[in-house]
């Protein structure tokens, strides 16, 4: 084996495979019974014999179960590969890492693209309106199935962070620590507004046909525009200026209103790419779940957290204007008032909301030491959170 190959082996979890877990049915927050439900998931590392080293990673809007390593025949590593692997922040030599595609998603878990057993056709809009809590309740079934009573940590950014908060509120006895990153207790009108423009863009596409497009052309134009808007909100003014400036594209087309600037080309490229891997109905369902989410359930958040022994690490990014730091500080404030053991850091990043995927060094440092502390507390006292 040559040296180069060795290095790759040390840094990556290597070849991984997505697995499936199916359960009959469960009750949604709306009261409706729904099933069967399949969750696509991946695991990295080994569960120890005490089953105390499991970490659940929750993904963001467009994420999937493939968080780390590579799939057979593919070059692209998972979406959080820089954080998960041997010797990395979430060290797969120490921890057993789980990531599942959310309920309502389109990457192997049951969602609007799945076949409705009653009609033998894709659910489309017959798929029920789901919530972040429903997504988490389904994840809990998977964690139970894997034989894990108590997770060492639940870690996630953006919508992943909403799921972390849902775990913290709904299953405080089933986790030792929670790491909500660049997220919020509930969406602000501005966040709802951006999501609504994305949804309207999809629904305005003539190919959307009230969601019944699975046997014809998908509403790719609408979905691409939704994604373009998304990408604008994920970057900062500064990161866009640094990445594109006002540089014009090399090849200019002889039409009016073509993509002259690099930033236009980038957004179109991102939009066009997204439609190849994402379902428009899933986009509608998931963004709606994000908008409807309120971790506090209408109560002051500190009263919901009262008495929990879960340790919390909250991370925000200075240039993130989609999930601004003040929203993370709201979480921190509630933790303070509830007497929850909490650490908060606002990382000085210019990447905007995307920073949670990109600020590897600082975020890794925080995660690594925080997880070490949580695991150590368990090893010393035999009890998490003691």
């Amino acid at each position: 084996m040559n040296k180069e190959k060795k290095i790759i082996k040390i840094e990556s979890v290597g070849l991984v495979k997505t697995q499936e877990f199916t359960f009959d049915s469960f009750k949604l927050e709306s009261g409706e019974k729904f099933g069967p439900v399949t969750l696509a998931y991946e695991t990295y590392g080994c569960l120890n014999s005490e089953r105390t080293n499991a970490i659940l990673i929750t993904h963001a809007l467009s994420g999937d179960a493939h968080a780390a390593g590579v799939h057979q025949g593919q070059d692209n590593p998972g979406w959080w590969d820089e954080f998960i692997g041997p010797g990395k922040a979430i060290d797969t030599e120490k921890y057993f890492v789980i990531c599942s595609n959310i309920l309502g998603g389109c990457k192997g878990s049951t969602g609007p693209t799945s076949i409705n057993p009653k009609t033998a056709k894709p659910y489309a809009l017959d798929f029920p309106l789901i919530t972040i809590n429903d997504i988490v309740n389904a994840q809990k079934r998977l964690i139970d199935y894997l034989g894990i009573e108590k997770l060492l940590a639940v870690v996630g950014g953006s919508m992943g962070g909403q799921q972390v908060l849902s775990w913290l509120v709904n299953y405080p006895h089933n986790l030792a620590s929670a790491v909500p990153i660049a997220t919020t207790i509930k969406h602000s009108p501005q966040q709802i507004a951006f999501n609504e423009v994305g949804r309207q863009s999809i629904m305005a596409d003539e190919n959307w046909k009230s969601g019944n497009y699975y046997e014809s052309t998908a509403p790719v134009k609408g979905l691409a525009v939704a994604r373009m808007i998304g990408h604008i909100t994920y970057m900062s003014d500064k990161s866009m200026a640094e990445k594109f400036g006002r540089v014009k594209k090399e090849a200019q087309e002889p039409f009016k209103f073509t993509a002259d600037f690099q930033v236009e080309g980038y957004l179109r490229y991102r939009g066009d790419n997204f439609v190849k891997r994402f379902d428009a109905n899933s986009y509608l369902y998931i963004t709606k779940a994000m908008d409807n989410f309120d971790a506090s359930g209408g109560w002051p958040f500190q009263t919901v957290l009262q008495g929990t022994s879960v340790k919390v690490l909250v991370i925000a990014f200075k240039s993130d204007w989609l999930y601004p730091a003040y929203q993370s500080k709201e979480i921190v404030k509630a933790c303070k008032l509830a007497g929850v053991e909490t650490t908060y850091c606002e990382i000085d990043s210019t990447y905007g909301h995307d920073a949670f995927l990109l600020e590897v060094e600082e975020e890794s440092h925080l995660l690594k030491h925080f997880l070490k502390k949580v695991l150590y507390a368990y090893e010393v006292t035999g009890e998490y959170g003691a």
Binding site: K333, K336, E341, Y344, D348, K372, K373, Y376
Partner: protein
């Protein structure tokens, strides 16, 4: 004092804190004092610190720390959330000292304050003979780069406590590497007070 290889002010504060207490350190820096408090006193600790790099050092020590400024960080705690609130070498850098001290006395059952004594004899000599703003071991900054916003003496702080009806439970004044027991306002570089309301 049985603590070796520890900064003198940290050793003094360590002696003031009862074992297994809860401690909030405002302006905890790299977290050295909080780390000592865990090791020596089995204290439950929380820090607040404005400097991002210092936050990373605290986290590496396994400490709970909030990234934020002291001026706004206290208001969000319930009354008597901690046995002690510590303001060591940070009070003189706070914008609204009066408000923060009142809040610290609300959030903590007791407050420990440590600050450089502006009336230290070397400062007085520099002022008197050289006619310059003092630069000493405990006030090491030039006037144009100092983070200190307030300059006070041990006497000033005592007068303040009297006026605000704050109890001084204990005071320890330290010089270069020893406690100062007489003419403290003249010979002490640093005053450390245990106060309560």
């Amino acid at each position: 004092m049985a603590h070796k290889n520890i900064q003198l002010d940290h050793a003094v504060i360590l002696d003031l804190i009862k074992p297994e207490s809860s401690v909030l350190d405002l302006g905890c820096g790299n977290g050295d004092l909080l780390y000592l408090l865990i090791k020596a006193k089995r204290a439950r600790v929380q820090g607040i610190e404005i400097d991002e790099q210092a936050i990373y050092k605290c986290v590496a020590k396994g400490l709970n720390v909030f990234h934020g400024d002291v001026d706004s960080g206290l208001a969000e705690f319930n009354d008597k959330s901690f046995d002690y609130v510590v303001l060591n070498q940070s009070m003189q850098q706070i914008l609204h000292v009066d408000k923060v001290l009142a809040d610290a006395l609300r959030v903590g059952k007791r407050v420990i304050v440590g600050f450089p004594n502006f009336a230290y004899y070397k400062s007085r000599l520099q002022m008197f003979f050289k006619g310059k703003a003092p630069v000493t071991e405990s006030l090491p900054y030039q006037w144009y780069e100092t983070p200190n916003l307030h300059f006070l003496s041990i006497l000033d702080f005592k007068k303040y406590c009297r006026a605000k009806k704050i109890n001084i439970e204990c005071q320890v004044c330290i010089g270069e590497n020893h406690k100062v027991l007489f003419l403290r306002n003249l010979f002490a570089q640093v005053g450390i007070f245990l106060i309560s309301k």
